[in-house]
Amino acid sequence: MGFYVLSYLCIAVFIIATGCLIYRQLSFPLHVRWEIYPVRHETIARVAYGGSYMEELNWWEKKYKSSLINELKYMVPEILFLRGLWKENRNLWWLSFPFHFGMYLMIATFALLLLHAFFTLWGLPVFAAGGSVSILLSGLIVVTGWSGLILGNIGSIGVLYKRMTEAELRNYSSFGDYFNILFIFLFFLSAFITCLFFDPFLAGAKAYTLGLLTGGHSLNSYMPGQSVSGSLAIVSASLLVAYIPLTHMSHMYMKYFLYHDVKWDDAPNLPGGKIEAAIKNNLKFKPTWKAKHIEADGQKSWKDIAAAAPKEMK
């Protein structure tokens, strides 16, 4: 039961930490535009060369269009396949891609395991043991699970080796960076050993996931501790789930904000719109910068300060 409690706690940390990360992003004051082209929600024609709506005569008379589909068309392959790294830093891609994709495949495997557990719990006739849906799902679990483990192990050893041996990476790496990779490697390795020697068809993983949904009370649920490596895999996977959002490794999904909210945020400030209202609020902030030319006294707002020329030079 201790394993289940740990997993629940870690999932709770993940949800809370990720929720906080996202809430924080949503509650920042509207920042000034700092987009960089190509902005991927532009029309396909403009994305091709990096153009913007500001290339049109009297652009403000036209409707501002932004296609989330075009953004996702770029962002999904970027997140899944690290397209940017492939283009700009191919040597690293060969190691970083298996590392990241291995993790994504583990997430996919977990999603499939959850599906499997739901079907088992519901006892749907289409999912009867030996039925085609059941076989297909189990097959998929084995394929994604094994591929994820193989890629993840290769990738984590590879990125660790590269970080340790190449000066340009090593000189910027801290204990924490090595620890993060080793931590992930520990999970991949323990899970790999477990599958290789004890559980090639991931039956234990299926049972553990079912146990997660039933608080460990289902008849079919897995009793962890049957192998040291299996226990280690469960503990390290759970801890990783809690740990990732607390570190810069959250970039895997926080990328969305870096792209959507900064690189591609080209929304114009139209009279009477939401953006204008947000700016008016921002202009009420009272800065306390100390350089004399700012002439901030904690009482004057940004609006007051921007409207006045400085008397002081420094």
Binding site: Y37, G51, Y53, E55, P271
Partner: protein, 537 residues
């Protein structure tokens, strides 16, 4: 290659953290091999004895050395106070979210390094890596501002904070042109250019530290006198009168430059540097607008005849003051739109950045001159004879106008129509390289900074220009079209520095000059290679 330097080394006192030896800079091809052994001229000891100059071979700011250990301590204290403010919404609502996202998500993969022209051309000197200064700031932030930071620093990357660290970091923030090429290639979306911009802000807004060309002679003079050139309204009008006469003289075209026309369709904002250094640009705009029957005006109000906004590069408050002033002038003139002349940073400043600053009747529509001109050139109102531009032309993409604004094609469509021998640089458009004068470098020349710029930050652009014309005989005059005053100034300096007019036939100028040169019916060509214009005689 110097890869042994680590971010934490910035705090270890020495005379020079990073020195470039002759021969270490990226190689130039013939006939420029003689520059391959050229080193940045050493700083004169008597000139730097009282200023901080321990970063590298040049000085951009010239921060006075603190007189005592107490003063150093006080400055470190001030720095930390400013750093804290960068992460507060009251003080930095302008960039808080982008800054935090970039501070917290770098994977230290070094993909950005290869994209940076300064890093590449410097002979891959460690301090010029895009993440070097970002990592220094990140470590200070984590160690000195995060709870428990002094303990976790041992695990996440340590750094000592002393006056040396700070003085070097301030200087180092003026070795990056803010071209943001690094940000386009970062797989995560981290923007080291932005982090650099924020470092500059911290120094200016909290400690009053900034290069005098940007602050005292820049934004302060702009707001006080009317222009960063020092020109007051009267002098600006005098210049325009001179330009009218010159246009008649050199192009045979009688042009009227309208001033302060209330209710005009367009308020045209020029970089005032054009009036002094390239009056033909101002004249060419006037000829085109007049010939096309456009209703337009210039403003003779202080700051209204100078589009620049140096605040963009180092200080949000100064930026806001200048932007508000520009918008207010347009509001009172009751124009329909502001058109930004050939000045890249002014484009981005007023059109993009100020877009989240100007509200109500200050939010006057702003348009790039590239777009206005495209409409005039392609709509058939004017007749052109492209063969008048029958010489090789290449186009420089100003970072602020192209990568940061997406104004990419209008200028190309114009060139395809009026310049039959137009060819692109490689790479171009949003992947362009900075001219090397970005973020204020074009106008900074104290100590030996101009030499540093010509040798290091402009080197990549110089190579690109040479490549673009490599199929042309040496003696054929070639035109580098740079629709941005600062880029133009940088390209002028690099052509002079490398004797490239003589050695490669390189000339430079703006876009409007090419348009006017191709205008059918003009009595005389406005572009005359090899002839010095009257204002330079």
């Amino acid at each position: 290659m110097n890869t042994s330097l680590k971010p934490s080394d910035i705090s270890k006192p020495s005379d020079c953290l990073c020195h470039i030896e002759p021969g270490e800079l990226s190689l130039l091809p013939p006939p420029y091999e003689d520059f391959n052994q050229t080193a940045i001229p050493p700083l004169k000891p008597e000139k730097i004895k009282n200023i901080e100059a321990s970063l590298d071979d040049t000085v951009a700011i010239g921060i006075p050395k603190p007189a005592s250990a107490e003063e150093e301590k006080e400055l470190v204290h001030q720095f930390l106070g400013g750093l804290k403010k960068l992460f507060e919404k009251e003080n930095n609502w302008t960039f808080l979210q982008p800054l935090l996202l970039s501070m917290e998500h770098c994977a230290k993969c070094q993909t950005c390094s290869n994209a940076c022209p300064v890093y590449e051309m410097s002979g891959r000197k460690e301090i010029h890596r895009p993440i070097f200064r970002a990592e220094v700031l990140r470590r200070i932030y984590k160690k000195y501002l995060k709870p428990g930071g002094k303990i976790t620093a041992k695990l996440t990357g340590d750094i000592d904070l002393n006056w040396t660290t700070i003085a070097r970091l301030a200087e180092l923030s003026y070795r990056c042109t803010l071209c943001r090429r690094c940000a386009t290639v970062c797989p995560i979306g981290v923007d080291n250019g932005l982090i650099n911009h924020e470092i500059r802000k911290l120094f200016s807004q909290e400690m009053g530290i900034a290069p005098k060309e940007l602050h005292e002679k820049g934004t302060v003079q702009h707001l006080r006198v009317g222009s960063t050139t020092g020109m007051n309204p009267l002098a600006a009008k005098d210049s325009a009168e001179f330009i009218q006469e010159e246009m008649e003289e050199i192009a045979g075209y009688k042009v009227e430059i309208p001033w302060d026309v209330e209710g005009a369709d367009i308020l045209l904002l020029h970089n005032a540097g054009e009036m002094l250094a390239w009056p033909e640009n101002v004249g060419a705009f006037a000829i085109i607008f007049q010939a096309a029957g456009i209703s337009w005006t210039l403003s003779s109000e202080a700051a209204g005849y100078d589009a620049v906004n140096y605040g963009l590069w180092y200080d949000d408050v100064q930026f806001s003051r200048v932007a508000v002033k520009h918008a207010d002038i347009a509001r009172r003139l009751k124009v329909k739109k502001i058109v930004m002349g050939e000045c890249g940073h002014a484009h981005k400043a007023l059109t993009v950045i100020a877009d989240r600053l100007l509200t109500g009747d200050l939010n006057i529509p702003r348009e790039s001159a590239m777009v206005t001109l495209e409409n005039i050139v392609l709509n058939g109102k004017l007749q052109f004879d492209p063969l008048k531009n029958n010489f090789p032309v290449t186009l420089h993409d100003p970072c602020n106008m192209v990568r940061s604004m997406g104004i990419v094609e209008p200028q190309r469509r114009i060139l395809r129509k009026i310049a039959p021998r137009f060819r692109e640089m490689t790479p171009h458009g949003v992947e362009n390289y900075c001219c090397g004068g970005g973020s204020g470098f074009a106008i900074m020349s104290g100590y030996n900074f101009a030499e540093w710029r010509n040798l290091v930050s402009s080197r990549k652009k110089f190579l690109q220009i040479l490549n673009a014309f490599e199929d042309e005989p040496q003696d054929v005059p070639k035109y580098v079209c740079a629709p941005c005053s600062n880029c133009k100034g940088t390209i002028r300096d690099m052509i002079n520095y490398y004797h490239a007019e003589k050695r490669s036939g390189l000339h430079y100028g703006g876009l409007v000059e090419l348009i006017v040169n191709a205008l059918a019916g003009m009595k005389k060509p406005i572009i005359r290679f090899g002839e010095k214009p009257s204002w330079e005689l």
